[in-house]
């Protein structure tokens, strides 16, 4: 009994150690987004709260907690309150299987990729329930669009994951990273280049970010599914969106850029020079790169039209992945060097 309690407390401590830095990171991603987009548009961005505006995310959070939660009169109140929680939970629990360094993972399950795939599919429920429960036309259309978009891009995402599984021969995320060891040219972004690009694009579409943010396209359906949400409800949707952005960036680094492996591995001389940098620092640098590109894309590209979005998903990304899975299968079966010699 005492032993089990100890294990439980240990697990709770580990989860807190994962979630707290994640929340702080999410807070500063919102800050970075406003700052980077500000500088891209030749503005300064937030600079009043704290030194250079560094306390801005916390000011926002405090403001949102003290705002009234308005429940619209025609809505289904219980569903309306539950929806933000439903969208936050999948965005958080996916982190249970993400390894931050060799052996540094909450639960090292063998079906890691399957778990991630299942959990990321669940996030659509929060959005759908929110749109339905609000009983507002904008929210309803936003939710419908979001469901169709998420579902379409999930197929392309699933197919590119199949490519990663074929190359690595394992669903365990730590083993997928270990299979990429041996230098930067062993990372999967080279042999799986088309799948890397497809995963990246569909990751942006899955998180409903620009240029695929038709779900909340402010010029047509205002804020989409969360138009009726105020205060904490809105904060939770916001948190979920940014947590899944960080998650997609980490997954891109783990699956295609060698996770915590150093890019100088196998290069004599330079390898020793950078050996002191711990693994999670490399993972963090790679993740930060993808997060920066998220923001950069948002500042640069105009929004897609809905038919263009569907065409890209079904008629470009899915055929590309299908073809590359076939090519990859033949490469692996013929033991084609340099990547698939075994």
């Amino acid at each position: 009994m005492f032993d089990q309690l100890q294990t439980l407390i240990w697990i709770i401590i580990k989860i807190t150690v994962i979630v707290l830095p994640l929340l702080i990171l999410v807070a500063y991603v919102t800050y970075a987004e406003r700052k980077v987009i500000g500088y891209i548009q030749v503005r300064v961005g937030p600079n009043r709260v704290g030194l250079k505006g560094l306390l801005q995310p916390f000011a926002d959070l405090i403001k949102l907690v003290f705002k009234e939660i308005v429940v619209p009169s025609r809505s289904n109140p219980y569903l309306f309150i539950i929806a933000p929680i439903l969208s936050l939970v999948p965005a958080l629990i996916a982190w249970a299987v993400v390894p931050f360094s060799d052996g540094l993972v909450l639960s090292n399950i063998n079906a890691g990729v399957l778990f991630l795939f299942a959990v990321s599919s669940l996030s659509v429920y929060g959005v759908l329930v929110a749109g339905w429960a609000s009983n507002s036309k904008y929210a309803m259309f936003g939710a419908l669009r979001s469901a169709a978009q998420t579902v379409s891009y999930e197929i392309a995402m699933g197919f590119s994951l199949v490519g990663v599984l074929m190359a690595a021969g394992s669903m365990n995320l730590s083993q997928i990273v270990a299979a990429q060891s041996g230098g930067i040219w062993q990372w999967y972004f080279l042999p799986l280049l088309p799948l890397f690009v497809v995963f990246w694009i569909s990751g942006i579409a899955e998180t409903n970010r620009a240029p695929f943010d038709l779900v909340e396209g402010e010029s047509e359906i205002v804020a989409g599914f969360h138009v009726e949400y105020s205060g904490v409800g809105f904060a939770l949707f916001f948190l979920a969106e940014y947590a899944s952005m960080v998650l997609i960036s980490v997954l891109l680094s783990l699956f295609f850029l060698g996770g915590w492996l150093s890019p100088f591995e196998g290069i004599p001389g330079i390898e020793k020079l950078f050996a002191w940098i711990p693994g999670f620092a490399w993972l963090f640098i790679k993740t930060a790169f993808f997060l920066f590109v998220y923001i950069w894309i948002r500042a640069t590209f105009p929004r897609y039209r809905y038919d263009q979005l569907m065409r890209l998903g079904w008629k470009v990304l899915i055929p590309v992945t299908l073809v590359w899975i076939a090519v990859l299968g033949i490469l692996i079966k013929c033991h084609c060097p340099p990547w698939f010699a075994i």
Partner: protein, 118 residues
């Protein structure tokens, strides 16, 4: 084996608790000041004139059906992708035939215009 999944269960419980605590905190600290105008559904300043739960475009339904087929396909591909080095050429060709059938179906859908959003 299953004890590896226990931390995930704890994580799910903690994530729900976190969400519920935040919502409750907002509910307690946010105050309540209901007003019939403020609580009516947002419609760009117009008074909402009918329910939002209107019939929607059949194409959303079509996308959902296509998704089921392709998602099943991914589910079939997952174990095959893991075992590709051990199943030999027989397993490889069996899956190639299966994929080929689905590609024919995909081309048929495409030609039928099921993927059009005009």
């Amino acid at each position: 084996m299953l004890e590896h999944y226990f931390p995930i269960l704890v994580f799910v419980a903690m994530a729900f608790a976190f969400g519920i605590v935040l919502v409750t905190a907002g509910r307690l600290s946010g105050g309540r000041n209901p007003d019939s105008e403020k609580n009516s559904p947002y419609e760009c300043g117009f008074s909402p004139f009918e329910s939002a739960r209107l019939p929607f475009d059949v194409r959303f339904y079509l996308v959902a059906i296509l998704f089921i087929i392709f998602d099943l396909e991914t589910a079939f591909l997952f174990p095959w992708a893991l075992a590709i080095r051990t199943i030999g050429w027989f397993g490889f060709i069996a899956m190639a035939l299966f994929l080929g059938l689905l590609v024919i179906g995909f081309i048929y859908e495409w030609k039928k215009g099921a993927l059009e959003w005009e």
